[in-house]
């Protein structure tokens, strides 16, 4: 592959969203106001077109790795702002800009009339800028910059309705939980610099063999250097991509407006972890331990989140756990060396998961609740939303022919056929996930769109008061949607359920096309395709050696597919035909149900083990001793001492001239005596 110079359209990709951000944040209040979507959408649309141009270059075999300008120069430490546009980046560019553009357009309808309209679009643009910097950077520091930038925007946008306490808390939670991961990530970047003396990707990955077999003293242990670096980098990925044990922030992040959930917490930001692992694949490849860790963490999270999703009642939280689960699958793929399969799933997942979220947003927009137990029968009111929801669910569930099928099958087959020592284990877990994913997605659909409408508050003759009480009685009433707030100005009484406006449904249809067809670029050879996607990424992430026959591949595919269809059938049986069974089951297996419903009590455990001790430490030691005694002791003690001293000293100023004269004379005598004596 040849290299090419940096072109203006490469620079425009991140620059346009930054400009859009600046325009809206500076002029939003006075000038753009409720037209704030124009600069935002034009900026993202522009960078989408530039991304297409970049993709064309990359497909023509031209790779860009060029510095724009020197950012930091200190001795031998040199970091530039530069762009690396290779197949991996090109795929990410398409995913990010396409999803961002469609979601920006959708948000015009969803956020319509919100008081923070310009602020919303400004942050969304800033997020897009940071995400693009993250994926386009040609060095670790720029990656880190984008990484923290998207985290910051995530914080802004989760806490978008900042006067709602649960939203503000969720924002803080996301930010703080990510600190844990980013701490490791930061140290990982330092270790890379210590080892290679540079942070530039090409220089690091080109010389990656010098770290093989080296050991380093870390906290008193001698550990294998590649393992250490890979695990530290993976730490960051675990935080950002909501993997065990740092997954707790993602469900709470659903406090943000739904377009934010779709863009940041499904399609782009949370996949940054997978991107990081794929980008650093030369380091990971050196360490089987790290690879196995990645695979096992991914598979465990995937299964873990999928089981939780079965029992949840908040429409967005179900999809959030689904995101966790799918991200786990991507890590599973990376862990067994099939980075291309992981990125492929990232790419298809972005479309169907963004679609699921936006369709869920459309539902919330119409019924003003997040609780699926209060929905039902929406099929006839919102046919378009229903249609795209079904398509997204089929894609997510891995129904043959849809995007999700090809990527998920690729992952499961890679796990089965890889040389990885944990391959078979994670394959089993992945196959189990293949059952749960369609099950919970279709449970969601059957409860939302089929049957009778159970929404007490949304019948035509219900008044405002009952609407409020319905919200209060919901299981996750604190997670009441943003949509509800954003439409607080509408009278609730006599509210009709209606399909969302065109500005929302058209992006849904485009995403639906993606959810169906995006995966067609990666049809495996066994199904008559060429797996062009993996071939395209091969120069960056390589291709794992598989050992498996065609018969086995057919078998694995047939197994996971039939399991997936079985999941749909079970969901249909339980929630359409015998809708009393789920309730009886939840009573009969109360322990298990409660365990799942309460998300394995992870939040409670963290609260007990980490949050409460930290708060206690803060209030007792930091506030009581460090702040109260030490800092305030010094700050108040020094002036107090000076005050006491000056209280004594002021007695010398008697106002009587003679006293001054005597002091002066005595002082003069003293100084002269001193001068004589010390001569």
């Amino acid at each position: 592959m040849g290299n090419m110079e940096l072109q203006y359209y490469h620079v425009l990709i991140p620059l346009l969203p930054l400009l859009g951000f600046l325009v809206n944040i500076l002029l939003g209040k006075e000038v753009t106001r409720y037209k704030a979507h124009w600069p935002a959408i034009l900026a993202v649309g522009g960078s989408w077109i530039c991304s297409l141009a970049s993709l064309r270059d990359v497909m023509a075999g031209k790779i860009v790795d060029a510095d724009l300008y020197t950012w930091i120069l200190s001795g031998s430490f040199k970091v530039s702002v530069g762009f690396l546009i290779d197949p991996l980046t090109a795929v990410m560019l398409i995913v990010v800009t396409t999803c961002a553009m469609l979601i920006h357009i959708y948000a015009v309808g969803y956020m319509h009339g919100d008081t923070g309209y310009y602020r919303f679009f400004a942050y969304l643009n800033l997020f897009t800028f940071c995400m693009l910097m993250l994926i386009m950077g040609n060095n670790f520091l720029q990656l880190y910059f984008g990484w923290e930038g998207v985290g910051l925007c995530s914080y802004f946008l989760i806490g978008y309705y900042f006067n709602k306490k649960s939203a503000a808390d969720a924002g803080k939670k996301a930010f703080i939980v990510n600190r844990f991961g980013d701490f490791g990530f930061g140290i990982g970047v330092f270790m890379v610099f210590l080892t290679f003396g540079t942070l530039h990707y090409a220089d690091v990955f080109g010389n990656v063999s010098i770290m093989a077999g080296k050991t380093v003293n870390f906290l008193g242990w001698n550990v294998d250097l590649p393992t250490l670096v890979a695990l530290l980098l993976f730490c960051g990925a675990v935080g950002k991509s909501a993997q065990l044990p740092l997954h707790v922030w993602l469900p709470d992040a659903m406090e943000g407006p739904t377009p934010v959930s779709a863009l940041i917490h499904a399609a782009t930001m949370v996949t940054a972890g997978v991107f990081l692992v794929a980008r650093c694949n030369p380091i990971f490849n050196l360490s089987p331990i790290a690879m196995n860790t990645v695979a096992v963490v991914g598979a465990t999270t995937s299964l873990f989140a999928a089981t939780i999703a079965i029992t949840q009642n908040d429409i967005k939280r179900i999809i959030a756990f689904s995101t966790c689960s799918h991200l786990g699958l991507m890590f599973l793929a990376c862990g067994v060396g099939a980075y291309a399969a992981g990125i492929f799933h990232l790419y298809t997942h972005a479309f169907f998961k963004a679609l699921l979220f936006l369709a869920a947003g459309s539902v919330i927009h119409a019924v003003h609740t997040n609780n699926i137990q209060e929905m039902g029968g929406l099929r006839k009111y919102m046919p378009i939303t229903f249609g795209v929801f079904i398509l997204a669910a089929l894609s997510a569930g891995g129904f043959p022919g849809f995007s999700g099928f090809f990527s998920k099958d690729e992952i499961i087959w890679s796990a089965f056929a890889s040389h990885s020592s944990v391959g078979k284990l994670v394959w089993l877990m992945g196959t189990a996930v293949a059952f749960f994913t369609p099950f919970y997605t279709f449970r969601l659909i059957f409860l939302t769109f089929f049957g009778e409408n159970r929404g007490v508050a949304h019948q035509e003759d219900q008044g405002h008061a009952s609407h409020i009480s319905a919200h209060g009685s919901g299981h996750d009433s604190h997670a009441q949607s943003s949509a509800h707030d954003s439409h607080g100005h509408e009278p609730h009484g006599g509210h009709h359920i209606h399909e969302s406006p065109k500005i929302m449904t058209v992006p849904l249809m485009f995403l639906a096309v993606g959810a169906i067809a995006a995966g067609w670029v990666g049809i495996p050879p066994i199904l008559g395709g060429g797996n062009h996607f993996a071939e395209f990424l091969k120069p960056v992430v390589g291709h794992p050696e598989f050992h498996g026959t065609h018969a086995q591949e057919w078998g694995v595919m047939a197994l996971s597919t039939s399991i997936a269809i079985f999941g749909i059938v079970v969901a249909a049986f339980l929630y359409l035909r015998k809708s009393d069974i789920p309730e009886r089951m939840s009573k009969q297996f109360k322990v298990i149900y409660d365990l799942l419903y309460n998300k394995y009590y992870v939040d409670e455990i963290y609260n007990f083990l980490l949050v409460q001790p930290t708060l206690k430490l803060a209030s007792k030691v930091l506030v009581g001793i460090t702040d109260g005694k030490m800092i305030e002791g010094v700050v108040n003690g020094v002036p107090g001492l000076i005050g006491k001293f000056s209280q004594k000293l002021r007695r010398f100023q008697t106002g009587t001239v003679h006293h001054y004269a005597i002091f002066m004379a005595a002082g003069a005598v003293f100084i002269i005596a001193l001068a004589i004596l010390l001569r």
Binding site: R651, T654, G655, H658
Partner: protein, 100 residues
């Protein structure tokens, strides 16, 4: 020829009278006069030394001292008059409002 030490002793005596007067008297006019005594003691010292060392710089300094003393006397007396108008006294013990 009067020896240098006599001048020095004279200067010392005049200076001590000035210091004593300044510290012991309560009338502000007398105190100002004591200051003049001290300054003139210094002048005697300067001029005698200047003569002894055959160096005119001491005498020049004495002129400066005289000039400063004149200015000081003028300002000092003006202040005394201003004070007297307010307090109707020239007794320094009555003037002790400026204390900490």
């Amino acid at each position: 020829m009067v020896p240098l030490s006599w001048y020095m002793v004279l200067s010392l005596i005049v200076f001590c009278i000035g210091v004593f007067g300044f510290l012991s008297r309560k009338n502000i006019i007398i105190m100002l006069m004591s200051i003049e005594l001290m300054l003139n003691a210094v002048n005697i010292n300067l001029i005698s030394m200047s003569h002894y060392l055959q160096d005119l710089r001491g005498q020049i300094l004495a002129f400066f001292v005289i000039a400063v003393a004149a200015a000081e006397a003028a300002i000092g007396l003006a202040i005394v008059i201003a004070l007297f108008r307010n307090k109707a006294t020239a007794h320094v013990d009555e003037m002790n409002e400026m204390k900490g």
